[in-house]
Symmetry: C2
Subunit: 197 residues, 2 copies
């Protein structure tokens, strides 16, 4: 490589980001260098700001710039519904859909015997605490439809059994989905949960 | 979005990088925030350094941290061969292959009537200048095998005709390539340039 060490290091570090590899990192860095006044300097400044201000909400685990996030402080969202998600990305996905008006609880992962992740490693004790102390009427388990996600949902359901209404996301054919391309599990779930028209 | 403005802005800016879209930018930013001490702060610092030090070589157009790049100052590379490429990324690709021991000239694009890019917008006058003043025996036109790339190669060949030996990269079957997957143009080129064993 003819580029000097800082540029090489920058490429190497960018290549570690999810979604980028060595090739796309090189392209991104060249793009940044070409537009350094317009893009590289502002991006660096913004990263500095975010590095200094970003934190996890002490209550729900969402990422924001306050100790307690906007959703947890908003009175409008205190409707008694609590949506449990694995990850902040899932919370953001729910928010983009705009369908949910309650509050969230981010677990920070799923239970995994293989990776030695037990309830204490996740935000599960805090969830049990919130259900006991906040005015929560329904806990919606919006965990991923993976084995780990469903195991975690079952564990939480066991812990909260009898204290609160428990629901989970419906499973079935995704909007725009073609039967031909769906796996057997999805078709089975959609068939079992069929609705009368 | 529940994340606050700086985080949103960072996602938006990251999404503008080549190879990243809104979804992968969100994933990357969450990853960066999770590892802010290990990744976000060092990345920001490095960007600041690169923004301050990166510049184009005044001689060849390569990106580095000096006014004249390592390759242009290295005496070892003054072997009379000059490799003309469209872009710094192409120069880096050539360097990774390690096959070329001479110097480079980065045009900064290709001629394009549609986009009103003429020789003056590229580093073509500087190329003609270098051929006239440096001890160059061969100019290798390593431009992309696209229409714009080949048009530019023809233009440069016209300008330098008679002053220096002009060559271009061989065209043919790429290493590991399967005939079945190659386009007609490549097969035609490979057939025309066939070699005796």
């Amino acid at each position: 490589m003819s580029s000097t060490r800082d540029i090489d290091n920058l490429i190497e570090m960018m290549a570690k980001l999810p979604g980028l590899g060595p090739r796309s990192a090189r392209r991104a860095v060249l793009h940044l260098i070409r537009k350094r006044a317009l893009l590289l300097t502002p991006l660096s400044d913004l990263m500095q700001t975010v590095a200094a201000t970003a934190r996890e909400c002490l209550n729900c685990g969402n990422v924001g710039t306050e100790d307690v996030c906007d959703i947890c402080t908003s009175e409008k969202r205190a409707n008694g519904e609590l949506c449990v998600v694995e990850d902040v990305a899932d919370l953001w996905a729910m928010e983009r859909s705009g369908v949910f008006k309650g509050r969230y609880h981010v677990l920070g992962g799923t239970l995994s015997a293989l990776d030695a992740i037990g309830p204490q490693e996740l935000r599960i004790p805090r969830l049990i605490d919130r259900v006991a102390t906040e005015a929560i009427s329904e806990v919606i388990l919006a965990l991923n439809a993976t084995i780990d996600g469903q195991t975690t949902a079952h564990y939480i359901a066991d812990q909260l059994d009898g204290q609160v209404t428990l629901t989970s996301l419906a499973q079935g054919v995704p909007i725009g989905g073609e039967l031909d391309y769906l796996d057997d599990g999805t078709i089975t779930a959609a068939m079992r949960a069929r609705k009368s028209l």
